[in-house]
Symmetry: C2
Subunit: 199 residues, 2 copies
């Protein structure tokens, strides 16, 4: 049966408990806390398990030898629409590492804001009321970008376009008019992503 002599078993239940702990506290606990978390009473055995998770890429060390989440720790199963033939447990097959959704969406934390969308003026761009817009704050943008602009002391989300040398804001909904600002157009930032929660 020793087909894979290199791989010692590693308990997925342990990983889940650690991930739950991390989700709550955003920190990897010490070995003794891990011990009680895992229901183990010997630190030495905790160390052994940690080493396995480390070798599997779920845990890692900082330069100062502090335990930290590894590359695969945040791995969420990313499943592709097209799945190969025999799928006993569909999503398991493709283990693609996409770290955090935050990391996926936010490139420059200090310049990134979230703006809650009101109204349906951008519905044809798939932007619905209540969605959260990930906005990178910057004073200018390119034609074609979806921008968050400040018009009459309110935020509006629109496509940026140009008409006879002037910037205009175009909605993605025929029911709304194009906004042609008199004077300078004040841009708050450009859309870098979108987050929607359902239910």
């Amino acid at each position: 049966m020793a087909l894979n002599p290199q791989k010692p078993a590693l308990d997925p239940a342990y990983l889940e408990k650690l991930q739950d702990y991390y989700a709550e506290h955003k920190v990897i606990p010490s070995y003794s806390v891990l011990a009680t978390l895992w229901g183990i009473s010997a630190k030495s055995w905790v160390a052994e398990c940690v080493k396995r998770f480390e070798e599997a890429g779920y845990l890692d060390w900082t330069p100062d030898r502090q335990l930290k989440p590894g590359a695969r720790f945040f791995e969420r199963r990313l499943a592709d629409s097209t799945v190969q033939a025999g799928l006993p447990n569909p999503a398991i097959s493709e283990g693609y590492d996409l770290v955090t959704i935050d990391d996926y969406l936010v490139r420059v934390p200090s310049r990134t804001s979230l703006v809650r969308v009101k109204g349906d003026s951008m519905i044809d761009a798939g932007i619905h009321e209540g969605d959260l817009l990930v906005v990178e704050q910057q004073p200018n943008a390119n034609v074609g970008d979806i921008v968050v602009a400040i018009v009459d002391n309110e935020f509006t989300v629109k496509y940026l376009d140009r008409e006879r040398g002037n910037f205009v804001l175009k909605p993605a909904n025929k029911a709304y008019p194009v906004i042609r600002p008199r004077g300078r157009l004040e841009i708050f930032g450009v859309m870098a992503g979108l987050v929607r929660r359902v239910r």
Copy 2:
């Protein structure tokens, strides 16, 4: 000048350095590492600064007295569409704490997958090609839910509906037909959120 006698100064540069460190390692370092990170040579002074960040809500402790990020540590500025009159620096006004986008979207990490959307069959529900669907894996769902089902060994995203006692999958695009599965409908999970990255 002692108008606010209660508030000792806390250095925002320290916080930024900590946040950068955390962004890289996903862990709060020890006092001695913090000391070198902040360019301080006395641990006692690090302890003092940490206490201030703790009192301000940026740091916190686990039940086991390990240092961890506090509620405001991940704070991203969430700006509302309607902003009051005088807006010199629009987004600053509303400091709303929404922790991580991950926390916002995923409730049960172990049962949550991400599915990349192919095709435009759900475009009227604001689900575009290339979007990432946050899916909570579960074998059944309610009518009206957007579900990820397995049909002919492929994932499909559709509305779940019922027709004459049988479950059917309805697209949100008139160009696509309703799917009426013969036999059992295999549900992979229900949509809990949506993530889109632009550019």
